[in-house]
């Protein structure tokens, strides 16, 4: 009955009530969407890498390694010796090790040199493996696998030849045009940087940079034609080039690329000199910290290992501040619209004195009227929550495909029902709290309302 009373009372004041609901819906919808984006952004962020227990790289700092190896956002500064790879590949705690080399690009997309087992071990999302849309992993030198977005955006298909550029910018002056690679596979979309990457074998990278895998500048390229004689020996025999940069930049491989391509399987370049890092999978996750420790104290190479989950979390903390601010702002907007509702209810008390007198005469106590006002506030709130939920849900369904195609952000179009229940409860709690103001007014008015008010 009280419920009916509160409901009918609201209905009888539909215009002011509608306006109030309108402001409430906007603020609650804002809260819902901010929270959804927040959780989804985090989930989308965390899905970037999975199934990798440790990332080993040169000592650049945890976040730099993560940004470089997973997000391909910052270049990895240092390098890891091939012997280090060999050491940890053979390590008893390690179940698999996938080396990778960065530093080249194709039309702005990162080129990753790695082994074919990358496709087997690298996972994203909730331990989802990479899968092929078309074709298969590379097995020979000069073969490439494209991320989904690369193929889609550049319109590439299987068996197409592409030219990889040196450096990571979208405009590079140095192209490995003498070593075109052939597309043999295209991956399914993942919603991670994998989509924007091109995968080739380490040998392919090595062939393009016959000696210097890491440091090459346009300047040194200009002078490369001056010395072509000593290239062959240098490109194939040196395992440690650290003292030889000057020479290496001058190496010219134009006249040898023909047979290099044919030499793949037995080619010396399958054992590259240096790599950017190693993805490690462990036999047992319990060993993670132990191996991390071991890597960090490895004597023969200046390397460190990061745990992707931990580093992702650290990185997320940087983003989290902005996200928290957004949430706080939407909270403030919600509170202010709740105060608007309180004002509306408070103002209505004046025109409802007759109503109160009648209810008092029938035996309603001040507490009953307090509850009635609370009920009205909560009804408004619940109604607004439902409308806001429908609104946000509708918008999400319409917008998520667009966000996915334009920003590569894979948001779930469905708001988690637990989130809605939780936030609905919070909104309702705040409503009840703020509605105490008009409710107390009703209580007091009831106390002082006698029957024959004129």
């Amino acid at each position: 009955m009280l419920f009916k009373l509160a409901f009918q009372s609201l209905l009888s004041r539909k215009y002011t009530v509608l306006l109030t609901v309108f402001t409430l819906v906007i603020s609650i919808a804002m809260l819902f969407s901010v929270n959804h984006l927040r959780t989804q952004a985090k989930a989308s962020f965390e899905r970037n890498i999975s199934g990798v227990d440790l990332i080993l790289s040169s000592r650049d700092g945890d976040i730099s390694i993560l940004l470089g190896s997973v997000f391909h956002l910052t270049p990895l500064q240092g390098s890891v010796k091939w012997s280090t790879y060999q050491h940890f590949n053979a390590h008893p705690l390690v179940s698999w090790a996938v080396p990778f080399t960065l530093g080249d690009s194709h039309k702005g997309f990162t080129v990753v040199g790695t082994s074919a087992s990358y496709f087997e071990h690298f996972q994203f999302g909730n331990r989802e493996a990479l899968s092929f849309h078309e074709g298969q992993p590379f097995s020979y030198q000069s073969e490439a696998v494209l991320g989904h977005k690369v193929a889609k955006q550049l319109g590439y298909t299987l068996h197409q030849n592409i030219v990889i550029s040196h450096g990571t910018g979208s405009v590079s002056f140095s192209h490995h045009s003498d070593h075109p690679v052939n597309v043999v596979g295209i991956l399914n979309p993942t919603g991670t940087p994998v989509d924007e990457s091109i995968y080739v074998s380490l040998a392919t990278i090595e062939a393009m940079h016959p000696a210097a895998t890491q440091v090459t500048t346009a300047l040194s390229r200009i002078g490369r034609k001056t010395n072509t004689s000593s290239s062959k020996t240098a490109s194939q025999s040196h395992h440690d080039h650290e003292h030889e940069h000057e020479h290496e930049h001058e190496h010219e491989h134009e006249h040898e690329h023909e047979h290099q391509a044919e030499q793949v399987t037995e080619h010396h370049a399958t054992t590259p000199t240096k790599i950017s890092g190693i993805f490690l999978g462990l036999a047992t996750p319990i060993a993670t910290l132990r191996l991390q420790n071991e890597v960090n104290q490895f004597e023969h190479d200046a390397v460190e290992a990061i745990i992707p989950g931990v580093a992702l979390n650290q990185l997320w903390q940087l983003v989290a501040t902005g996200e928290a601010i957004l949430l706080v702002i939407s909270g403030i907007i919600l509170i202010s619209s709740l105060f608007g509702m309180a004002t509306m209810l408070l103002a209505s008390m004046k025109e409802r004195q007759r109503e109160l007198a009648i209810l008092r005469a029938l035996g309603a106590g001040p507490k009953t009227l307090f509850i009635m006002l609370q009920l009205e506030a909560c009804l408004l709130s619940i109604f607004s929550i439902i409308v806001a939920y429908a609104l946000v849900q509708g918008i999400l369904v319409a917008v998520t495909p667009l966000v996915a195609t334009h920003f590569g952000l894979y948001l779930s179009p469905v708001i988690a029902i637990t989130d809605i229940v939780l936030m609905g409860a919070i909104v309702l709690g705040m409503t009840a709290l703020i509605a105490i103001l008009p409710s107390i007014s009703a209580y007091n008015q009831a106390l002082h309302t006698s029957l024959s008010k004129r």
Partner: protein, 237 residues
């Protein structure tokens, strides 16, 4: 009227009652040493405005608290009750009819009447048969039950108010100038319907009015100035 209760315990007994809206002794508006209303008695109470009629009604209903003294209704002392108990007591034992605006405009007629049942924690009858009987006595069509109260004429509203006041079979009906917003024909009809309904239920009636033409049907006509020792102009609350 014939039962023993009438003689032994009055419906309303007021003893040494004083009331003031504030603590000052000089502001006392009600000072009634002794007043009784018999069971099923119909009392016409009059007095100039400001003589404290409304205050007295509020005291009897328990919506105002006596400063001193006792108000017994059916042997229950209102002055000894908590405000919650008084609210419950009122819901069960007292029916009130106002001058006008008796109904909550946005509720249907039926819901307006059902409200009285809702606040009575111990409803003693099903709504529908009561409505059928009461509406017949009050010459109200059943078809108005679902209409919002705001769509009724004033006369109809006042009659619905009678029905509602009677719903819980209260011991006492308090009517505060219920006819003043009605024209003469409606007044006469209202009065006879009120009397018919009340006699059916054997309730006690306190009827406040300025209009002495109405007084003749009552068992007793009381001037407030005869029972209230405070004379003078008090603004009715």
């Amino acid at each position: 009227m014939s039962d023993a209760k009438t003689i032994i315990s009055p419906a309303i007994a007021v003893r040494d009652l004083t009331f003031s809206y504030n603590a000052k002794q000089s502001d006392i508006v009600i000072d009634i040493p002794q007043w009784h209303v018999k069971n099923a008695e119909k009392v016409f109470l009059y007095g100039p405005s400001g003589s404290g009629k409304s205050t007295l009604l509020n005291l009897i209903c328990g919506t105002l608290d006596a400063s001193t003294g006792h108000i017994l209704i059916d042997n229950s002392d209102l002055t000894q009750m908590s405000s919650r108990e008084k609210d419950r007591f009122r819901a069960k034992h007292i029916g009130v009819i106002f001058q006008q605006f008796n109904l909550i405009p946005y509720l249907s007629v039926q819901d307006n009447i059902a409200l009285a049942q809702y606040f009575n924690t111990d409803p003693n009858q099903p709504l529908r048969p009561f409505l059928e009987q009461a509406f017949e006595t009050l010459h109200l069509p059943m078809s108005i039950l679902s209409s919002p109260a705001s769509e009724l004429s004033v006369g109809q509203q006042q009659r619905v108010a009678i029905a509602r006041a009677l719903l819980n079979k209260p011991d006492i009906i308090i009517a505060d100038e219920p006819t003043s917003s009605l024209d003469e024909t409606s007044q006469t009809r209202f009065m006879s319907m009120l009397f018919n309904s009340i006699e059916e239920q054997n309730s006690t009636l306190i009827f406040v009015s300025h209009d002495h033409r109405l007084a003749e049907r009552f068992d007793r006509v009381v001037s407030l100035s005869d029972i209230n020792k405070v004379k003078g102009n008090i603004d009715a609350f």
